[in-house]
Symmetry: C2
Subunit: 474 residues, 2 copies
């Protein structure tokens, strides 16, 4: 939104500087052509077309469409710069569109705006809409409150099925979904039941609306529930929408499945980015600017580099051993990387298990009790392969590991058992530790685990070497 | 399903061996208690309760519930052993339940069965259902065809809105969703339009059904589309269901949003597991058996270990340099890990960008053109920190890097620039390469990238060292 002058209420940009008549005509024709493209077909295609246009041209095309279509376009989260588009429309038109948009999308639009445009645009809303938007903006990002919308259908419990259907027909155009209707207490407005539209249309018209409800407490979430919890509820109960309720069970809004789908995919992207050892980014790769790209990657890269410097310190500590037994250095990368790899496997398993709620914080010891034998088995496997490699190379004459080569092989084998076991344990416990101290377990990135295991791996390797090779090589 | 004897059609297990009367009564009471718990409340809770019971007991409790409730329970993908439960019910009851279940869930059940139970159970279905199930089973896993269901609503184009609503009321109980109705050509059965239920209930009852449809080609998928493509369509168009059509545009089935939600989460889990360097697993962590756990992890771990052995070979090659300049070995882990870390960042970015369709195979050179300057900048940053570290330690007297320490510092700094740049490039190109040769780009795991960069990183490091230190240290 940087490259568009924030001049809300400006008329079509063609009026601003008067271009020669034929250019003016050409621009008019082009806008007519674009408007014709936007008018028909899928909204998603219109959004894509609009994203490719500079906001003044896009706004000029939007101005020629019926309001219903413009609202559909503005309601798509994929639209890049809704605020910029609105700023190029006449101010009364922009205000009307903001009123007609879904409240969650209007809130998103305000979230991306800076002052003073934010205050200016907010002042043009009706009191009711402005309050709704401000309430949505007050919830922390990635909570149910921040992704809910306030356009839902509630009915008092004393209505009949036919009355409710009649009401749905009247309000349908202004509601994000009508496939779930919320029946509330006439007095307290507390939520009693959720009724699916498919059950309403098959129910007896004269029956009370509650007769079409299932005999189960409605599934609800609190506005501060995070989006991962919300997604778990949707999957568990196959929901299309979930009501967000306050402490008195009054419905504040609803979260719809399309927003949950987007939230899950965003969460997945963030998890992969964090696991790859960088700051998460929701923007498409090609749209991340150079400076932002460096910022998102440099922080973790430098932090890991500084931690990894401990390996240099560890090696300085074992300097004498290194000088005496250069043969040991040959296996340093091999051994260290094996620890990192087994750690990264364990971490990937635990990050997902924690994110999906399959495992709780208190289960850490159960996980440790599984990872210990797993790590020992995997370590023994690699240890045998490592020993075989040295035996084969030595016997076949590919390389001479010195007269004490059997002891060197034993050192490598035992160090692998120790390091792979340590890697599995450290990699599986780190997500728990991070969760315990209030971080996202997904911050336990593969590079983070590798760094952790590298330093301790060196110490394990040289300790095993000292134990086995003292008196011979060392 | 291993621990349950596959005796389809067996009566309630209490009949099998006759227990003493009081034990029999106690078991009867317990079953009544369980059945009461399963009868009420949310289906998801009943499924959880049932998963905790041995299949014979679970089946005995199910036998006391109304069929509608049992079908709801069997329809939940979270139910662990539906086939085992059915095998403990009377065979006519089991057959009726299989008929009443969603076709996609029935197909899932058969997918998990081995012969001869599979053939035996299939023979008990009606011809119609058996054909539908066999067709669903014929699609490869993770395609639209394999996750679709065959219970959907189609109507010929010459019906009125009122007629369609009447039809929906009649078939609602047997359809997975009625929120989208598919209007087909009366002759060819080709799909013409999708109509949302919310539009039907607000439309004029006497109007033709097509008048309630939107003026846009319906969104469809082919049965062989993979589930990632299906998920992208759902997000792009905010769908609740999408019709799966054959080449003649006839509807074969529909994919509903609840299955897409599950598919996206499974896909996310698989991506994280693969990125962590192991075979993907859909099972909850605690339910993966020890042998399966070793199998899923040992393969990649051994493959990476064998590749990483090239580092030992590379170091053997530079043996003379290592003997002459032990100071160089101090920085090997530091330098190698930096390459792996920058590679893992680039890979995580590209895996997601490719999975979300933000970037296509042909964009590889555009990505390379971004990663080159990014890698150079990040490498220069780490290079400066690396040089500073050596300067500070040397000046402060923490460690003596020898008389040529400024050249050692220069070697480390330049090697870091080269290795981080190489890491970013290799890490970003590997997903493209894997996709090009037909693999999942997500197989480009962080350990895989690290291994790739480790070997080449050593070569870069020693080459830079030879260039700068020849005549002094080397």
């Amino acid at each position: 939104m940087d490259n568009t002058p924030p001049v809300p209420g400006t008329q079509l940009p063609a009026d601003a500087a008067v271009p020669p008549a034929n250019e003016f005509l050409a621009a008019q024709l082009r806008q007519g052509h674009v408007a014709a493209q936007l008018r028909q077909g899928h909204v998603a295609d219109a959004v894509e077309r609009l994203n490719a246009l500079p906001p003044p041209e896009g706004a000029a095309a939007l101005a020629q469409l019926p309001e219903e279509r413009v609202v559909e376009i503005l309601d798509k989260p994929e639209l890049d710069e809704p605020a910029a588009l609105l700023s190029f429309l006449p101010s009364d038109r922009a205000a009307a569109l903001l009123e007609a948009m879904s409240a969650d999308r209007t809130a998103d639009l305000f979230r991306d705006l800076d002052e003073p445009q934010r205050a200016e645009l907010l002042s043009r809303l009706s009191v009711e809409t402005a309050l709704a938007v401000q309430r949505l903006l007050s919830y922390p990002p990635n909570t149910a409150g921040s992704i809910m919308t306030t356009e839902f259908v509630t009915v008092p419990e004393n209505r009949t099925v036919a009355q409710v259907l009649q009401y749905i027909r009247a309000v349908e155009p202004t509601r994000e979904t009508v496939y779930a209707v919320y029946v509330v207490d006439g007095e307290t407005r507390a939520l009693l039941r959720a009724v699916a539209l498919r059950r309403l249309i098959t129910a007896e018209p004269d029956a009370p609306v509650l007769s079409a409800a299932r005999d189960a407490e409605p599934i609800t979430v609190s506005p501060t529930a995070n989006r991962e919890e919300v997604a778990r509820l949707f999957r568990r109960h196959d929901l299309l929408a979930v009501p967000v309720v306050d402490d008195a069970q009054r419905v504040l809004g609803i979260v719809t499945v399309d927003d949950v789908l987007d939230a899950i995919v965003e969460e997945g992207t963030e998890d992969v980015h964090r696991f790859g050892g960088m700051e998460a980014s929701d923007e498409p790769y090609m749209q991340i600017g150079f400076a932002a790209m460096i910022r998102k990657r440099a922080g973790w890269l430098c932090a890991l580099f500084l931690s990894e410097m401990l390996t240099a310190s560890a090696m300085q500590h074992f300097e004498d051993e290194l000088e005496r037994a250069v043969v040991l250095t040959l296996f340093i990368p091999l051994i260290m990387s094996s620890g990192g790899n087994s750690g990264s496997q364990a971490t990937s398993l635990l990050i997902r298990a924690l994110a999906l709620g399959q495992i709780r914080l208190g289960d850490w010891w159960r996980v440790a009790a599984r990872e210990l034998p797993t790590g020992l088995t995997l370590g023994a496997l690699l240890g045998v392969i490592g020993i075989l490699r040295i035996v084969v190379w030595q016997s076949a004459g590919f390389y001479d590991y010195g007269e004490h080569w059997p002891l060197v092989a034993l050192t490598v084998g035992l160090a692998l058992v120790g390091i792979v076991t340590f890697g599995s344990l450290a990699g599986s416990m780190l997500p728990f530790l991070l969760k315990r101290i209030g971080f996202d377990p997904a911050s336990a990135s593969a590079p983070f685990v590798a760094t952790l295991v590298d330093v301790s791996g060196l110490v394990i390797y040289f300790s095993v070497a000292l134990l086995i090779l003292r008196g011979t090589l060392l």
